[in-house]
């Protein structure tokens, strides 16, 4: 009897709290991570204050925020080359990745020649190669671009290859039955089919390009946030390091957000809603 009542009562109760539950559910994906981060910052500040940790060792979020505001013009000046180089190397990596995927997909000869070597290359810890780029290209912006492109193009190759290989077989047959040229088949069918796959590779590439630029700046730059961090580190300005890391977070979010946003647009174009 009680069991029966509970079973009948349950839907009614959830219906009553339906509107409230819906709103919470909608904001949860945004509200929950922000609340978690805020709580972590509070704990951080408390730990620093209560344990009297020296600022040089670990500044609290308040110290970092003050440093950020104080040195904001300088930070922004350094953010410009870092952001632009990241964007440029990401664009290069995407173009190079798609081009290589095309070559590998369309030419069995090139596939057999290139693909195993590409994979072997990926097994090298790529940070180890950074000094070589300095030797070859100096401490110029081109050096960092080349290095960042180099370490970030591979995911695009893999994802674009998968996308091009996964085009529906019948869609290609349809093109053949219509006597479409290989170029038409590529442009009208295969590339659009591969596009969502390409984006998943590009999302990885954009974060790797960003890492590549920072590593490059550690090694060879006279400007950029990587340089700023090293410079602040050499003067034990820990709050400055954290402030630069915060700016890096913002740039990283913007870069990733732009790619993810473009991906969403493409997927919406696919679905039509």
């Amino acid at each position: 009897m009680t069991v029966g009542d509970a079973a009948v009562g349950a839907p009614a109760r959830s219906a009553a709290s339906g509107t409230r539950g819906l709103d919470l559910a909608r904001f949860r994906p945004i509200a929950l991570p922000i609340a978690t981060a805020a709580a972590a910052l509070v704990v951080w500040e408390l730990v620093v204050v209560l344990l009297r940790i020296p600022t040089v060792l670990l500044p609290g979020p308040g110290d970092v925020a003050r440093e950020l505001v104080r040195d904001l013009p300088v930070l922004l000046r350094h953010a410009v080359p870092t952001g632009l180089e990241s964007l440029a190397s990401f664009a290069l990596a995407s173009a190079l990745g798609v081009a290589l995927a095309l070559a590998i997909t369309y030419s069995p000869l090139l596939r057999d020649m290139l693909y195993p070597n590409l994979v072997v290359f990926q097994l090298i810890p790529k940070i180890a190669l950074a000094p070589l780029f300095v030797i070859w290209l100096g401490i110029t912006s081109e050096s960092r671009l080349a290095y960042a492109t180099f370490i970030s193009f591979f995911p695009v190759v893999i994802s674009a290859m998968t996308g091009l290989a996964n085009t529906e077989r019948d869609a290609i047959r349809l093109c053949r039955s219509l006597t479409a040229s290989p170029w038409q088949t590529f442009l009208l069918v295969r590339f659009p089919f591969a596009l969502p796959y390409v984006f998943s590779g590009m999302k990885i590439a954009v974060t790797m390009a960003f890492i590549g630029v920072i590593v490059g700046e550690f090694i060879s730059a006279k400007a950029g946030l990587g340089f700023y961090i090293l410079d602040a580190g050499s003067r034990m300005e820990t709050a400055g390091i954290f402030a630069a890391i915060f700016v890096l977070c913002v740039i990283g979010l913007a870069l990733f957000g732009a790619v993810a946003g473009a991906e969403r647009l493409v997927r919406r174009w696919y679905r039509g809603y």
């Binding site: 529906e168 019948d170 869609a171 047959r173 349809l174 093109c175 053949r176 039955s177 219509l178 006597t179 479409a180 038409q184 009208l188 069918v189 659009p192 089919f193 174009w269 696919y270 679905r271 039509g272 809603y273």
Partner: protein
Amino acid sequence: MSVERYVTVSNLRKVYRTGAETVEAVSSVSFTVPRGQFVAILGPSGCGKSTLLMMVGGLETVTSGSIEIGGTPMTGPRTSIGVMFQDPTLLPWKSALDNVLFPIRVLKRPLGEYRARARALLEMVGLQDFAAKKPQQLSGGMRQRVAICRALVYDPELLLMDEPFSALDAITRDEMNEALLDIWQRYTKTALFVTHSIREAVLLADRVLVMTRRPATVVEDLEIPFARPRDMSIGDTPAFNEICSHLRAKIERGNGLGRRIGAAPETSVAISVRKAS
């Protein structure tokens, strides 16, 4: 049968080689189809009927034998042939209307001139309100209707259909058969329609070719006597059921299953015929 031979298939053979093994997918198939005839190629799955169809469409290579269409030997795909596959194979990023217009785009014909025709075709299959929808927003039956419109939009003379409705549920399939009968009433074309459904073949076709496995060849060539326009109601007549059971017997004999398993369905058909008459 009419004297004019639009499609001539003679001694067609297809052998696949996989490593050391050779598989004969189609062995010495010959038939002719006059212009305007709707021919169903009926057989169990894996009997090579799709391979046969793709060879006729120039989409598979021929091991030996020849195919002539409209008096010229087939050497590759032609734009006078339209193909429908088992899946609708619509492009997911294109609207229904743009999918219908896809062949026009590939063939570089003026899109503007064909837009009205594409809309008329969509209207004929009852999709006039869905022209702007993308495939993901359409049901399976609707997608296959779009695929029919796409095969018809550039007005090919010969339509090749490779089990186009076999992925659909039974009710939707009946609807599609009805739609196809209706379309055939308006645009009479020559057609080869591959299916493994006996009822579908008898309902739609002017003539049924029965293919069997081992050897993959044509064992029966049967004219279907029903006049057009047809509708689904002919499926309830005794004559329809008699033809179906005849074809079923042919398929089973061809597969060497006639002795044991074949006995049961044949008796049940006999009973249903008696009930109907």
